[in-house]
């Protein structure tokens, strides 16, 4: 996909994400919005190998969503790519449905259970080491939250990955500056985050996490690394990206828009989707 198409896909997915959450009456929309471009670049930009019709294909790259609360973006991608039926999103968080508020391995395309933070990098490191031990060429990519870096287990895994020179491991930090109720720098300082990861033996690349040019540039190294260090992509993002009143706000972690906020959010997400018919149908649904 070219950049315009990736951008269009991101806009479509944001509408699907909001739609799913509104139907369910729950869901972490802003944490999902902040990594939409990261997910779209990985899955639609040609940087990951996968087969939607064969989710367990041995040669696939392993994608681990460590920030499980951002799962609506992953669900929207999996539905769009055909890992799961498109209509599955409509029953997000409905009792007994496979798509819960955090992802698990009953969902085709989901490799691990996540939602409790600080697990994904360690499992990813084990996978990456396993690939090397078994002479497998697949790579491991994990997306973590920035607040997640307050978990001690992240740093145990960071040490392990660099010690074992896991150059087949890429960790992306969705650096939206916010945890659940507070800015990370206010509750527990993460900065200088880049230096900290470098000190733990990682190659670190800081990028604009909403720029497809920059995402494509850094993700094009997946499978073609020349360094022996694992790669940390520090993606500067905006939590709630795409809806102005959600963006970078401590009030918007798992809050959902209500009343006029719904119309306002849909209007802001409309522009790139004006011809898709998505917005009109969604407004009708949520008006009802």
């Amino acid at each position: 996909m070219d950049i315009q198409a990736l951008s269009q896909k991101s806009s479509e997915l944001r509408l699907h994400i909001l739609n799913a959450a509104l139907k369910a009456g729950k869901g972490h929309v802003p944490p999902a919005f902040s990594w939409v471009e990261i997910g779209v670049a990985l899955f639609y930009g040609g940087h990951l190998s996968f087969r939607p019709s064969e989710p367990k294909w041995e040669g696939r790259d392993r994608f681990i969503l460590s920030k499980g609360h951002g799962c609506l973006t992953l669900y929207a991608i999996l539905a769009d790519l055909g890992f799961i039926p498109k209509e599955a999103l409509d029953s997000f968080c409905q009792p007994g449905n496979v798509l819960a508020g955090h992802p698990d391995t009953n969902i085709p395309g989901v490799e691990v259970i996540s939602g409790s933070l600080g697990h994904g990098l360690g499992v990813s490191a084990g996978l990456a080491l396993g690939a090397k031990l078994n002479s497998q060429s697949w790579n491991v990519v994990t997306v973590m939250g920035d607040g997640e870096c307050q978990e001690g287990s992240v740093w145990e895994a960071a040490m392990f990955a660099s010690h074992h020179r896991l150059d087949n491991l890429v960790a992306v930090i969705d650096r939206n500056q916010l945890g659940a109720t507070s800015f990370t720098e206010k509750n527990l300082t993460l900065e200088p985050l880049e230096n900290r990861w470098e000190a733990f033996g990682w190659d670190v690349v800081s990028i604009d996490g909403h720029s497809f040019e920059e995402l494509n540039r850094v993700f094009s190294s997946i499978g073609h690394r020349t360094s022996t260090k694992p790669l940390l992509v520090l993606a500067e993002t905006v939590k709630g990206k795409g809806v102005s009143f959600m963006e970078s706000s401590v009030d918007w972690h798992h809050r959902l828009p209500k009343g006029d906020e719904v119309k306002d959010a849909l209007r802001q997400l409309t522009e790139p989707n004006i011809h898709s018919g998505l917005v009109e149908s969604m407004e009708m649904v949520h008006d009802a």
Binding site: R62, H119, S124, G126, L127, L129, L133, A157
Partner: protein, 314 residues
């Protein structure tokens, strides 16, 4: 002759490491002579992950997801409770072949203080339905159980004692697939125990026999999943049942047998003898703690005699 459980563990691990290059042994910087020998012969299959139990279990799960079968070795109290959530989510919920080799069951490390007392481990791990829990009483059992855990390819915990043991089993007789075995049969009383306490109960049984009191002794070497029908069959006809374990009151043999009797509507005198759940400060040596909590030979003898002769008064 007294023997070391660690030798039995690593004899068993060596056999599977030698036959399967996909077996990995992780240690959280915990050593053992047997482990060093494996490392010398198969250096690529042994990995010291450093002092990081949470990461050890996540890495073990990742390795297992990529096709390895993993043994994770460390001090029992640390590699069960420190990383409980990793065991719950990364290992058990994904049902991957990771076998915990927990060194220092119960009060093996008693004098090292409360950080090293592994007296809640079975309670914690019993909440994880995928986790098979083994508590072997001798080297034959230990080695057979290691081989069994390798073949089963599911999460397992092997609780290993640090103190030496006298052999009980012979390999030709037991394959340790059933979950519990009747070590001796007697008319007076049924005692359910395992691990290091099995030896103590056998000693007591020998002395009580001189008084005409005959014990049935059941070795519950697999706590989870419990072979309940076999256990009930072995207890059938007993006048009373006593459980003896070096573990806290909750989540061990006593809870299990008590629930089983209650659910089955079996009205029979029952007593659970275990450690307390309180934190034991200071140098709680095994013999000191056993005397304090009633797991020493004299107290056990008195308790078992009382239950055998006057079960309804207890």
């Amino acid at each position: 002759m007294m023997r070391d459980f660690r030798d039995a563990v690593f004899d068993g691990v060596l056999e599977v490491v030698a036959q399967d290059p996909r077996v990995m042994v992780l240690t959280n910087d915990m050593g053992a002579m047997g482990l060093s020998q494996i490392q010398e012969s198969f250096p690529k299959q042994v990995l010291n992950v450093g002092i990081s139990e949470q990461n050890m279990m996540s890495v073990a799960a990742g390795l297992a997801l990529s096709g390895s079968m993993v043994f994770a070795y460390g001090i029992a109290s640390h590699i069960t409770s420190r990383c409980y959530e990793q065991l719950k989510l990364d290992v058990c919920a994904l049902n991957v072949p990771v076998v915990i080799l927990g060194m220092g069951s119960g009060l093996s490390y008693g004098i090292d203080g409360p950080t090293h007392h592994s007296t809640h481990d079975c309670a914690l791990l019993q909440t994880l339905p995928e986790m098979t829990i083994y508590i072997p009483a001798d080297g034959v059992a230990t080695k057979a159980i290691v081989a069994r855990a390798y073949r089963e390819r599911t999460p397992a915990y092997i609780r290993i004692d640090k103190d030496p043991y006298e052999p009980i089993y012979t390999a030709e007789i037991h394959d340790f697939s059933l979950g519990n075995s009747t070590v001796q049969e007697g008319e007076s009383l049924c005692v359910v125990t395992n691990g290091i306490m099995l030896h103590r109960v056998r000693e007591v049984a020998t002395e009580l026999l001189r008084e005409g009191i005959e014990l049935t002794i059941i070795d519950l070497y697999r706590l989870n999943p419990c072979n309940e029908s076999l256990l009930l069959e072995a207890c059938h006809g007993a006048q009373a049942i006593v459980t003896v374990e070096e573990h806290g009151r909750f989540g061990g043999i006593g809870n299990l047998v008590g629930r089983l009797l209650s659910e089955q509507g079996i009205r029979i005198p029952f007593k659970g003898i275990s450690l307390s759940d309180e934190t034991m400060f200071g140098a709680a040596s095994r013999s000191w703690a056993h005397a304090k909590y009633g797991l020493d030979k004299e107290n056990l003898k008195n308790e078992l005699r009382q239950m055998a002769l006057f079960p309804m008064t207890v």
